[in-house]
Subunit: 331 residues, 2 copies
């Protein structure tokens, strides 16, 4: 068997994350211990939260230099010491940035082989579940309401917006650049797009949300959050999914004006969530997402970079806003 | 009949509010129109939100110079053109800062005469309802949890903390100065007090909340909110009741660090509320508060200033942190 290539988290980022923070290492392919399976990675996910894991403890413990870089992947079982998994099974789990991983069977999710592997890391994976639970259980849009999604061309945002459309809402997305603005409207069915970098946010939101804002699905924090709170209606809701505007820095900004002032006067609920908290209802959400995909009601936008060696540069590209939809690397 | 003295909101505050912003005026006592009653004010409430009403639109429309200063009061009906109210009835409502007001009957609440008038503006009035609904419906403490209340020696905070004690929680309050810290512990039964001006907030909160913080009832915003978010446990709740740290200024500070970052990683819910939104359940809450008062389970701390002419200086004194419990003026 060939060697196992791994990307090691080598140095803590000062400012923006990039290839300098990682080192490629070759080690022997591990063996599957009792109750474990050996997984050969086929696709690896790139996530904004990766940067946060390097910075400090979040909902998971902090990564330390020398660790295999953490991350989610999908692959095939090549050897199994577990009853419920067999060679050839398609699984996903926190494989880390490596070609092979020996993992306990209980830490892996087994998938129906009928699904496209790319979908397992997008609409049918963590980002799909994040969009589903964050929008429906935290944001709770009602038909006819106006929903804003930041990072709308990103992995979670592209799905969150489409789910709000299925709820009968007017859906507006923020993203960067004319091309991505056009793409979320023409391809994903958003009602309007705002280029947060090149438009006056307050004016653009006023034009795009003539009846104000009822739900804001926040992937970014920062200036979009601040403008959304200004535009928000009474009894508005902010589903706090991520803070990508603040991940790629060592010196986060203060919080938005209007917290807690607008929260009181407009009775706004801001609520953070992490997808794992909803895993008891995972099967329900996966079934709904799979049905919507099958029926063509949502599109799983994926952006696949070819080649394991490109992991660090792909991560940097994501923070530069290069991807459309879910970014992943084919190993 | 004597003249009607009124305090007029005369000039918008630049910075802190004080006697300069008001003018005393004498006008004829108004007559009660059809469906109206004439109320002779006996006690007038002073509220932190008064300052916000001068600054801009909140949950109510902005006050403009020349208006009778807005405010809540209790008094006696002296003339009635309404079926459901008679002379001698004890009522409360938004009388404004004046000795007499002609008001539509539907805008007044009629009280059982068995209650102490001071209680009608404290535990049995808006501040009691605010503490009740904000703590129980927004904060939702569970027995054994740790609850922090800012402005704990104030009108709402002193009651919110006592209600959390009834729920079986460890209750910590923030206030200013050793005397008030001692008072909320010795007199109101808080488990611990933190002097936010003279102690290191992070250290003091760590000592006072050894198991972290589950609910924060926020009357202040500002640095206490920021420190509370740092100390908060996973699935913590922040009931946003007011922002007294920011009312008495024309240049509010940015929001707290940790919004929305901590909200995501710790799955915190921050939710603003205004007591009027719960008025459909007013009777239920008033009955509970009256029973707790009768049984000695809560104390209605009141701070009564004698004399209508002292309204503006009493308001300024409240922002200087002089009052203990609910501040009101006997007319």
């Amino acid at each position: 068997m060939t060697a196992n290539r791994q990307w090691i988290y080598a140095r803590k980022p000062e400012g923006e994350v990039g290839p300098d923070n990682f080192e490629l290492r070759e080690t022997p392919v591990p063996d599957a211990g009792p109750g474990q399976v050996l997984v050969k990675t086929t696709l690896l996910s790139l996530d904004p939260a990766s940067r946060a894991w390097m910075q400090g403890a979040t909902y998971r413990s902090q990564l330390h230099p020398g660790d295999v870089m953490a991350g989610w992947g999908t692959g095939q079982v090549v050897k199994s010491n577990a009853k419920n998994l067999s060679p050839g099974d398609v699984v996903s789990g926190e494989t880390g940035w490596q070609e092979y991983s020996a993992m306990p069977a209980h830490a892996l999710v087994k998938h129906d082989k009928k699904h496209k592997p790319e979908h397992l890391l997008s609409a049918l994976g963590i980002v799909g579940l994040t969009a589903y639970f964050g929008m429906l259980d935290v944001g709770r849009p009602r038909p006819g309401e106006t929903v804003l999604v930041s990072g709308a061309a990103g992995a979670v945002g592209s799905l969150a917006g489409q789910i709000a459309k299925l709820m009968g809402c007017r859906v507006v997305g923020t993203t960067r650049g004319t091309d991505k603005c056009k793409w979320i409207v023409d391809e994903l069915g958003f009602d309007a797009a705002v280029d947060y970098q090149n438009e006056n946010l307050d004016k653009a939101l006023k034009a795009a949300c003539p009846n104000g804002l009822d739900v804001y699905f926040d992937n970014t924090g920062g200036q979009v959050l601040e403008a959304a709170l200004r535009r928000m209606n009474v009894f508005g809701r902010v589903a706090c999914c991520g803070v990508v505007s603040q991940y790629n820095t060592s010196t986060p900004l203060p919080g938005p004006f209007g917290v807690p002032g607008f929260l009181v006067t407009k009775r706004i609920r801001m609520e953070g969530f992490v997808v794992m908290d909803f895993y008891n209802r995972r099967a329900q959400a996966e079934a709904a997402l799979a049905r919507w995909l099958d029926e063509g009601k949502i599109k799983a936008a994926v952006d696949v970079v070819e080649g394991f060696e490109k992991m660090p540069s792909a991560l940097a590209g994501m923070f530069a806003g290069k991807n459309r939809g879910k970014l992943m690397v084919r190993v």
